[in-house]
Subunit: 330 residues, 2 copies
């Protein structure tokens, strides 16, 4: 292949015998360009294999056509199917709408990563993949009025755009579901307490326990990091403290995975039903344990968030809050 020198808009303009302005308008599909010039321009573009420089366009109209994301510093969250799936949803939707997805990483400090992204003009908007209690990133973005979507909900602001599952309700229904299946003593294993997801799901669990008048004590609750090993340990502790537990609600798929590993490893078979968020993300394995899966549609959440962000960027009307449906299966 010939090494051709860069063909710019000027090259095209010259070749087509028009001005850069006209080429630019043709590309932007402005209405008031005659069809004949338009056609000629496109023909030349094709022939010269011209591709507009996204960078130059960005500088001129301050639109990068990139949506930003920050890569979580802790491996646990990154490796979590929820993150993966929603990331995929975001990237896919972005692609469909002509955007690319820019991932920033900045070690331990998420807010700094965001600041760098935003200040560099590299992105038009950002998506925050999770809601941490007292999150300074939300604060920052809101202050400077930079377009962003929060996946999850904010405890402090009700004037920001969010996409979320109704976690309280979902976990209440899930627990109720276990009750419906005959469980009398239901434990809870959740992720870190500083994530909104966990607190909401815990609240739903407690609501259900109360509604149903079930027994409850503090040693029926375990909270830990979002990973497998801790899921394993938590299940162990729970069962050691409560031999008669016949149900357990788990808020995360990695934790679930560890918990089921523990269960599989013990010799005597337990009569226990597990209700877990994202159980299906791990496996379609019908183990010897009854598993009730709750699917929050992580991919959908990602798609929705990205769709919404781009709608905002394109000045379309969107709702402040969107709640995505969940499904209980099993």
């Amino acid at each position: 292949m010939e090494k051709q020198r860069k063909v710019t808009m000027q090259t095209v303009a010259d070749e087509a015998g028009v001005s850069k302005a006209t080429v630019s308008r043709a590309i932007g599909n402005y209405p008031d360009i005659s069809d004949s010039t338009k056609k000629k321009i496109f023909e030349v573009m094709e022939r010269l294999n011209y591709h507009p420089s996204a960078i130059a366009r960005s500088l001129a109209n301050r639109i990068s056509k990139n949506v930003g994301l920050v890569l979580p510093a802790d491996d646990d969250f990154f490796m979590n199917p929820f993150f993966q799936e929603s990331l995929r949803g975001v990237a896919k939707t972005a692609g469909k709408r002509g955007y690319d997805t820019l991932i920033a990483y900045n070690g331990k400090n998420e807010t700094n990563a965001i600041k760098r992204l935003v200040n560099s003009n590299k992105v038009d908007g950002v998506i925050l993949m999770r809601s941490v209690i007292g999150d300074s990133t939300v604060n920052y973005l809101r202050d400077i009025e930079f377009p962003f979507i929060l996946i999850g909900k904010s405890e402090e602001y009700d004037d920001i755009y969010t996409v979320d599952t109704d976690n309280v309700d979902a976990c209440r229904k899930l627990t109720n579901h276990l009750v419906g299946l005959g469980c009398k003593k239901i434990g809870f294993i959740g992720g870190k307490r500083d994530s909104m997801v966990t607190t909401d799901r815990y609240d739903g669990y407690i609501q259900s326990i109360r509604e149903n008048g079930l027994y409850f004590s503090d040693d029926m609750v375990e909270e830990n990091e979002f990973n497998k090993l801790e899921g394993y340990m938590s299940m162990k502790k729970l069962l050691e403290a409560n031999g008669d537990m016949d149900g357990v609600v788990i808020t995360d798929s990695l934790i679930f995975s560890g918990a089921i590993d523990y269960l599989s490893s013990v010799c005597e078979e337990k009569d226990i039903i597990i209700g877990a968020f994202g159980a299906e993300s791990n496996s379609f394995n019908k183990s010897k344990y009854k598993v009730v899966n709750i699917d929050v549609g992580s991919m959908k959440i990602g798609e929705f968030s990205c769709e919404k962000l781009i709608d905002i960027l394109e000045k379309k009307d969107v709702d402040l809050t969107d709640i995505v449906d969940y499904k209980i299966e099993g």
Copy 2:
């Protein structure tokens, strides 16, 4: 917070009583700027909360400080721990070296996605996350001499930068390892045949079978998509066709996961040893089956590839081919 109007390099220059050129040089840390002016400039930048526009810089010096990646169209590969882990490695390393990671998605056609990325000037180089046989993307990038790293190896070119595991050797050693553990009849489950990874690993497997003079027949080999369900089915078929199989080599962690699910689901306990690539990515679960894990260091591969790409971009000397170590465990 005040809504301040955009502070540019000009603002800083004016405020510091110097020219834009000097500010630019101070930021770029040019040697021949006096310490006093440098100091003053930084002080002003700080005070004005100035952040250079990455876009403007990009346009001026044609360096985007972005590395590009294309999101695989098939969910299987995206959901594969290998992809996840190496993606993370890439993004992390990019971040450390001052780059961001741009993810393009373009439906079914990977080459088009790459073309768009490259032509838009949005990235300085790209990383191809997997090597497919007869990949036109490699062709394209090589033709236009655009900087890129291929994770895996190319069957057709030996003049491109690659980062890879010695898959033939790894799989041979793994199979040998099973032989060492007493296996006499070892099956093989691999991913799609059009991926270099699969063919290499298959070759290694066959080499070992030959070396050790083991029995072999075609129904001891299963090849399928890289996913759990197919791993499950493959294991089933393999065992139905070969009841006396006492070992199996599996090339992929998702496939492994499905296979082990099948094994757990059958009632009679099989006496079989499993050797699998990325078995540990799935679970630390010590199941009732003996599992030999082979860890190719996906994260390392990602880190390495990115490090190498950026080295190339920064005109450092790098080797054409890098082979990353693997570890056999168990």
